[in-house]
Amino acid sequence: MSTAPVLELRGIDKSFGPVQVLHDVAFSVYPGEVTALVGDNGAGKSTLVKCIGGIHPFDSGEYYFEGKQVSVGGPRDAAALGVEIVYQDLALCDNLDIVQNMFLGRERKRGLVLDEDTMEEMAAKTLVGLSVRTVKSLRQHVSSLSGGQRQTVAIAKAVLWNSKVVILDEPTAALGVAQTAQVLELVRRLADKGLAVVLISHNMNDVFAVSDRIAALYLGRMAAQVKTSDVTHSQIVELITAGRSGELGLQNGKEATA
C-alpha cells in the first residue's frame, strides 16, 4: 500500500442556496485501495462525488491530484485527470452494443470512419483484463444484459481510459446475491490492479467485504476516515447514525483525527 493519496480534498464547503451540504470536508483516496464512502441519506455522499467529478463546483476548499493542486471546472477536467464516475443509473444506451457503449463519446476513428475493429479489440482486452467472461458477445445490445453484466460494462467503460480513480455510486444496490458477489469481486480486482476505487454503499456487508478504508459522512461533515481493519461493524453504524463512536468521530461538531 502506498502512502501518498492519489486524490485528496481539503476543507471542502458546498452550499445549494441557503442549504450548506458539505462542511469543511477532507477526503483522501489511495491507489490500490478500495475506499468506502458511507453515510445516511442526505449526508452528502452524492454531492461530494459530484464535486470530485466536476459536476458541481465547490464553494471553497482544495483539490489535490497526485500531490499537485488542481482546479476541476467540469466533467471533462476530471476525466482528463483520470477520474471516472460510474453512476447509479449506469448511463448506458440500451440500443447500442457493449463496444459502442464503452466507447460512447470517445469513439476511435480511422479517417472519417469509425474504427470498429480497434474498439472491439480494446473492449475485449479490457474485459479480459477484468476477468469478465460472462458476456456472450461483445456485439450484443446492452438491453439483453443482466443487471450485473450491465454494471460490469459500466465499470469496464470507466477503466478503459487508463483511469486512476474510479468512483462507483452504489454499484450493488439493484443486484441479486450472486451478481453482487461478482461485482464486488470486480471492485476488489480493480484495486489490486493499482487503481484507487471509491465505493459508495449502504450495505455494511459489502463495505466490510471489499474496502480497505472507510470514510463516514454525517450531516455533511466527515465523521471519520479509518482503516477497515481497525473498526467494527457497529462502530461504523454509530458513525453513520450519530456521527461519533467512542473516541472516533465528531466531538462537539469538530472532526477528530482518526
Binding site: P75, C93, N95, G105, L112, V113, V128, V132, S137
Partner: protein
Amino acid sequence: MTTTTAPEEKAVAPSAGLNKQVRDYVERVRGGELGALPAVIGLIVLCTVFAILSPVFLSPVNFANLFTQGAGVTVIAMGLVFVLLLGEIDLSAGFASGVCAAFLGVLLTNEGWPWYAAVAAAMLVGVVIGLIIGWLVAKLGIPSFVVTLAAFLAFQGVVLILLDEGTNISIRDSVILAIANENMYPWLGWALVVVGVVAYAGLQLLNNRRRAGRGLVTDPLSLIAVRVGALAVASGFAVWVLNLERSRNPGVISLTGVPVVVPIILVLLLVWTFVLRRTRFGRHIYAVGGNAEAARRAGINVDRIKISAFVICSFMASVGGIIAASRANSVDPNTGGSNVLLFAVGAAVIGGTSLFGGKGRALDAILGGAVVAVVINGMGLMGYSSSVKYVVTGAVLLLAAGVDALSRKRASASGRR
C-alpha cells in the same frame, strides 16, 4: 486481442456457423426485434393479393410505376428516420417538401434560373427550415410535435403565397423532368447491378478478412454468400423486368430501362447508411435516441445532434419535393400536401423504424416506401374511391405503429430493452 493473450483468454468465441446465425435471428424475432420482417411479409402478401385481384398489377409498366410513385414518399421517409431515431417527430416534412418544390417552380419557371441553381436553392430552403425547427426543439425546448404541427399549418400558407394564392406552375426544364419521367439505358441498369453486387461482396469479404486477421468474430462465408446472392437475384430480377419493353406501340416510341429516380434513391440510401453506421455522428444519433442523458454524460452535444437530425429531415424533404414536382410536371398547392406526410411516417415505421426512438435504418424507408407504394398503386388499379384510400392508409399506419408498440412490449418482456 493480439498474440499476447492465449486463445482461452478470449472473451468471446471467434467463429459462428450459419446454423447458429439463423437460430440467433429466430431468437431475436421472437424476442421482439422484428427488423425488416413485417415489411417483407407485408410486401409479399400485398403483391400476391393485388396480383390475383388485378392482372395489370404484375405488368412491367406497373412495376416501373411503383418506383416513380413511391420515390417522393420514400425520400421524405428516409429523412424522417433521423428524426424518429431521436424519438422526435416532424409533422411538417410533407409541406416542407411542398415549400421547397414551390421555390423550385418559381425560380425555374418564373425567374428562369438554370436547373442546378434552382435545385440548390430549393435544398438550401430545406436546410434553413430544418435549422429553424431544430433550434426551436433543441434550444427552446418546445416539443417537436407542437413545433412541427405549427410549421405544418404555416407551410401550407407559405406554399399558397409562393404560388400566388394557388396558381399552378408548370415545370418545363428537361433535366428536372427527367428525374421522375426518364429511364436509363438498359445496359447501364445491368452495369449498376454488376458493380453493386461485386462491390457489396468485395466489401463484406474484405471486412471479414481484416477482422479475421485481428482474431475478431467474423460472419461465416455461407452467410455472406446468402446475402450477396439475395442482392444479386433481387436487383437482377428488378432490372430485367424494368428493361422489358413497356410501350404500347414499341414501333412509335420505345420505353425501357430503370427509371432515373432509382439510382438517385440508391445513392441517398448508401450515403445515409454510411453516415448512420460508420461515422461518429451516426453513432451519436443512436446514442441520443437510446438514452439522451447517457449521451450527454458521455460528452455528446445533444442539442447539436437534434438540430442536425431536423436539418437532414428537411433537406430530404426538399429532395422529395423536387422529385414530386418532376413527377407531376408542375407545382401546385397540393404538392407535398394531403397524405404525403402520413405516407412518409408510415413508410419509415412499416420499414421497422421505431416511433420510440433509438431504432431504425435508412433502408427501412425503402422497404416501407415499397409497401406504401404497392398499397397506393394497387388500390388505384382496383378503382377504389379516395374515401376508401384514406381509410386504408390510416389503417396501415395504425397497424405499423401497433406492430412497433407490440414488438417493443415483447422486447421489454423478454429483457431485450
